[in-house]
Symmetry: C2
């Protein structure tokens, strides 16, 4: 070991899903939106003033914060914006989870939570989901240093009723409870509705899924003004200018096109429901997803085998080699046409396999 | 206090320089480049494929890392890219400064270093500059948990000889030494030349000054492959996708236009040298700046008074109300025309003031 290595923070990083460079791929592995961003984003692109890029962006990100506040009918002081919801949640861990008591999150959930906790040396205790992949709310009513879970959960797609969320928030007045709503637009009810009643709740959302803008890295949190101020203080202590000129302006344009947003979300929901029926016919089972993906297991064929078979046919789905979920595939809902190809490809593979046996 | 406030990280954030929204301002307060980005950036903008924004960007940022590596004639594995040099340095503090011993930096320097140290609970000891605002190299040869300083230093503009840098790096084999070269392109010699000899050196640079792209938030570090790997591990544990599609592509375009970069840097240097002479004639003194700003004090008029007088004439310069430097103005070098207006405005003010006395 070199002398300087003693003082280095050594971590096991999160491994993001594959971003293939080859052409002709049906990419159903990272829950991106199959539809392009709003036409208003194209217009914002065309209006970009290259000369202005020499100047720092507005550190308060006022235009984007205001546009999000207007959309959700809250005040500007209730909104925090960051470089994707990963940035927003990482900053939230730093800001709110500074107790010696463990933070709580589900055992099967977004695989970044334990990475952040490890990196920031935050103690944590995972809470097992029940057999139907639901949160057991009583598990979140013990002493803790903070709580976080996605709703709908990832990678299961399971939605908890807003009454369950409310009970967890209400029973934890001494903790900040973060509800990670990356997928809520595909069929869930947002906990934003609870913010008037509870000051210990932070709701996090993202442009990466329902707003078709994973490539621009925009996430946001909505919460009471004190929470948002503390979060901004940490952000300003880390990097005053996180959002670049283009992400600010494209972000405003996207959220102003509600009609397009609703249209694409509806299309994805319709395709998801169609895909559920087809997968059932092929022998798959899955918890009922309210997200833009389906977490499916086959009655006889191992998930890993199916993933590799699909990969050969240029269809990429996500497989997690982890306890309890290592026989599941997480399949992003693409366009109707992509899902028809997926179903056809799975059908061919399953039929051929039967013949060989 | 609310119950949940006990576990919150409370910090005093960095206050960035003013970004005024009014028109007709001569903005000499945040060391931006007065010239627009390269025409190649405009072309990259025009080639932006809005449809692709639905997809996550490449988490390895391969194209931009490769372009920077090529420019500096190092390997890809020697380059780390982040959201401005603030992001790069914040990640470096987290990664490399994990000792119980204090990190060392100058008492007069970039005012974010102590903010990061406070936020990350890293012990630090500031080392006084000498009377000519130079680093006293012996101060950096005591036991420490890491070293950081800008070269040229901010807000003084004073450049240390590369032999001073080398001695500090050589005498600290057990520490990572970070040289923050935000301003090096305006007349300094980069410590990148020392990387072949020393594995404990990290050099940080930015697109915000010499490359006219503060608005896109692009910074980078160059160092030995082990350091860069540790830095990437922390980055991947914080946010896998920090750089958005546009910053990656515009960043590649900018660094590929070396001719334009050299042309604008030369213009700024020529204007800086002209401004130095004029300021001297007006009764100012200043350490000899090798950056894109001049840190000047007047023989008879307080700096704060001059700042306010200039602000009334729509010229913004930076003033730090801090010990030792509270009679100095940090004046960014703008276009030749802007600096002529500045000199004329200062001259008028000084003359009028004399008449009134």
């Amino acid at each position: 070991m070199r002398e300087w290595e003693a003082n280095i923070r050594k971590v096991v990083p999160y491994v993001p899903g594959e971003q293939p460079k080859e052409q002709g791929i049906i990419k159903l592995n990272t829950n991106e939106n199959p539809y392009p961003p709003s036409e208003k984003v194209r217009k914002a692109l065309e209006e970009t003033d290259v000369d202005r890029l020499r100047l720092y962006p507005d550190p308060t990100i006022d235009s984007l914060v205001s546009a999000i506040a207007k959309y959700y009918q809250v005040d500007k002081e209730n909104v925090f914006v960051g470089v994707g919801s990963d940035d927003v949640i990482a900053m939230s861990f730093m800001t709110f989870f500074n107790s010696d008591k463990p933070i709580l999150f589900p055992d099967i959930t977004y695989s970044f939570y334990d990475v952040w906790a490890d990196m920031l040396k935050i103690p944590y205790e995972t809470q097992p989901l029940d057999e139907a992949f639901h949160i057991v709310k009583e598990d979140y009513m013990k002493e803790n240093g903070g709580i976080i879970f996605p709703n709908p959960n990832a990678p299961t797609g399971v939605l908890e009723d807003i009454s369950v969320i409310e009970e967890i928030v209400a029973k934890n007045p001494a903790s900040v409870v973060i509800v990670d709503e990356a997928y809520v637009d595909f069929g869930g009810k947002s906990a934003i509705s609870l913010l008037e009643k509870y000051d210990n709740l932070l709701v996090v959302q993202t442009y990466s899924k329902s707003r078709s803008m994973a490539g621009m890295r925009i996430g946001f949190a909505i919460g009471n003004k004190e929470l948002i101020k503390y979060l901004n203080d940490v952000k300003y202590s880390f990097n005053s200018y996180t959002m670049n000129d283009t992400s600010i302006r494209f972000g405003v344009a996207a959220i102003e096109d509600k009609a397009y947003f609703e249209e694409t979300v509806e299309k994805i929901i319709a395709t998801r429901e169609w895909t559920k029926k087809e997968l059932t016919n092929l022998g798959f089972t899955f918890p009922d997803s309210k997200a833009n993906f389906i977490f499916a297991t086959h009655e006889s064929i191992p998930a890993e085998e199916l993933q590799q078979a699909l990969r050969k046919e240029k269809i990429i789905v996500r497989y997690f080699k982890k306890p309890k979920i290592d026989n599941y595939l997480r399949i992003t809902v693409g366009t109707q046409k992509e899902m028809e190809t997926l179903v056809q490809t799975l059908n061919n593979y399953i039929e051929n396999r039967k013949c060989k046996q």
